[in-house]
Subunit: 419 residues, 2 copies
Amino acid sequence: MGDGNTSTRDRPMRVGIVGLGTASTDIVPEILRHPQLDLAVGCDIRAEARTQFTHRYGVPAFETVEELVSGKSVDAVYVASPNRFHCEHAVIAASYGKELIVEKPLALTLAECDEMVAAAAANGVRLLAGHTHSFDAPIQAMEDLIADGVIGEVYMVNNWYYTDWLFRGRLADELDVGLGGGVVFRQAPHSVDIVRVLAAARPVSVRAVTSSVDTAHPTHGGFVALLTFDSGAVGNIVFSGYAHFDSSELTFGIGENGYPRSPDTHLAARRRISALGSADAEAQYKNSMRFGGDQAGQWLKSGDRDPSSQKHPCYGLTVVSGTRGDLRQTPDGIFRYGSGEWLEVPVARAPLERAAELDCLYNAWKDDTDLPSHDGRWAKGTLEVCLAIIESGRTGREVSLHHQLLPRTAAAAGAGQRR
Amino acid sequence: MGDGNTSTRDRPMRVGIVGLGTASTDIVPEILRHPQLDLAVGCDIRAEARTQFTHRYGVPAFETVEELVSGKSVDAVYVASPNRFHCEHAVIAASYGKELIVEKPLALTLAECDEMVAAAAANGVRLLAGHTHSFDAPIQAMEDLIADGVIGEVYMVNNWYYTDWLFRGRLADELDVGLGGGVVFRQAPHSVDIVRVLAAARPVSVRAVTSSVDTAHPTHGGFVALLTFDSGAVGNIVFSGYAHFDSSELTFGIGENGYPRSPDTHLAARRRISALGSADAEAQYKNSMRFGGDQAGQWLKSGDRDPSSQKHPCYGLTVVSGTRGDLRQTPDGIFRYGSGEWLEVPVARAPLERAAELDCLYNAWKDDTDLPSHDGRWAKGTLEVCLAIIESGRTGREVSLHHQLLPRTAAAAGAGQRR
């Protein structure tokens, strides 16, 4: 792939989905909506999930990944199984020559990442790191403005997010750090990627403090991380999944899905979970939102969902500071604060989250080109930062990074300079 | 003092002011406004400053601190001379038995702090650390709510401030870190004190990155600092004095003086300084705002100053997160985000900044009691954190802290428990 071959594929890409949990209930509709994607097959260990999936979409669902990939009817596999199975499932799918999208985090260890990257390379398939908000159009637009030198040299990138992650309904697996649970494994990839993309440099170290302060949900629920970059820039991430305060107050009322957030979102979430009264009842509630459950597809779907009210997603507040200006997201684009002027730059709406990734992989597959960004090596860097946050939180020490890449535009600029 | 003696002084406290720079142009009006303070005398090495001061207020002004304090007409001295003279001037004044308020930072080294604390103790005078925004009524009200357990255990305190400090007009001294210049010495005491007060614990280490990215103003212009606390809480401070973005956007449009900030404040500041064209012209501009200059008292006085529009000061955005709730400032008080409710707590207006300190020292002097907070030992802790920010920024290493006190309410609670 990516060898200058200009052939294009003119048929839809057939996608199989591994893991029919709540993530898949977001992914499937995007596959169905995409004119060039076909939902081909699903896979889950839960019989009731397979039954409901097949009944609803008229496509087969298997118990194992091997069964899913052994047929010839699948071009690409979306790995949305529990985090601890990402590596195993991706390697199997790669060995059958399937293109890959893998949910964040890519895996639980750097060795697993290496195994996945190697398997993809050996089998000539693409490995796309799925679903981080660094795909969002305003983040990509900021990256482009920075690459164009609009704000000079970046010296500071900050992302702050106060949300109700711990109170959305969680299974035991999602809280067990050893299984890839907690907010560092499951949420930090978003902010880490946003900060890495916008710093336009390689991070070299992480110092972080993690917070675990809710006995009913024993896991990492919050963290603060300070990242240093080889450019001298500093990145700063604040995340609280325990938050009573809602940082959408700082982002024009817009949440991470682009919809306005009701001011009582956090209160309602806490009330709902606290009314359940036990971890078992909470698991039952969460299970009802997965395929096989009677509320499948309804998770986080409450509140205003009128498409006309949807704006660009705001994964917390992001502010990028450069020597000649600062950038910040708005509902419809970016504020660009310069030395001589201050203006809003509109950003065209673009596919979001799952749709963006699916589109990204589809285009690379169709044209047989490299992924433009967010490949397996990039996602290994994301995981390295997440693991460093956890380690620094545990040891109280700074952690050096050794597997970091430049983001897309900075790498291109560097390549340009070397020419 | 503070020995249970209940005598009160029933005459005004006579205040002398050392250093007739821009700070003094804020301090003098507060002395004049206070019904129980008399402006007694000033002191500055600049003859034109002394002349204008005496002409305007009808009180003497001397060239040296010794002359200022050797008379019997002064009870207290406000040390507002350049940072590198704070220690020398405070020690002289203490040796003459004068009560002390010293501008932030208390001094340039911990040894100087020790000398000042010892001089105050030896001479039986109070040493009040002046002017940090931790005196602001909403910060004090948050401290009280936290002490009352309203938000449970604090696990995270964040303060973010994007402002135009570098573009307000600066003298060479104010930029020379060796002389106590730059934003860490001159601004960090505000955010460090806010975070220490609200964490309700002792900080134990600092990891920070400092930014120096404007060749026309070669100094620390920004920093990010991560503070760990003995409670397990984390404090996070972001400061940019280069900012194009104005963080009053995050604080209801209110700035650190409590007045609404015009959205073009940063643009106007940059235009003004850039039109001056040279460091000499900038120094001339700044000098014109000090006593002796033709614009004395006008520094930072532009914009809306209608007293009816004044709100509580917002020194950037401060969010405190506890296990049972979060707190955030509003223009008229505090938002308290709880698990079951979300409400605004009004906070009564109180004396601000210089007025607050003067009032604090006056009350302790009148009643012959200890200072309630912000004494010399506390300010030594503030300086220790600032020095740690500078050191960590230079070395890239974490710095341990050894001279930290609990804030007022946490110390009182601890004393209560020990009873």
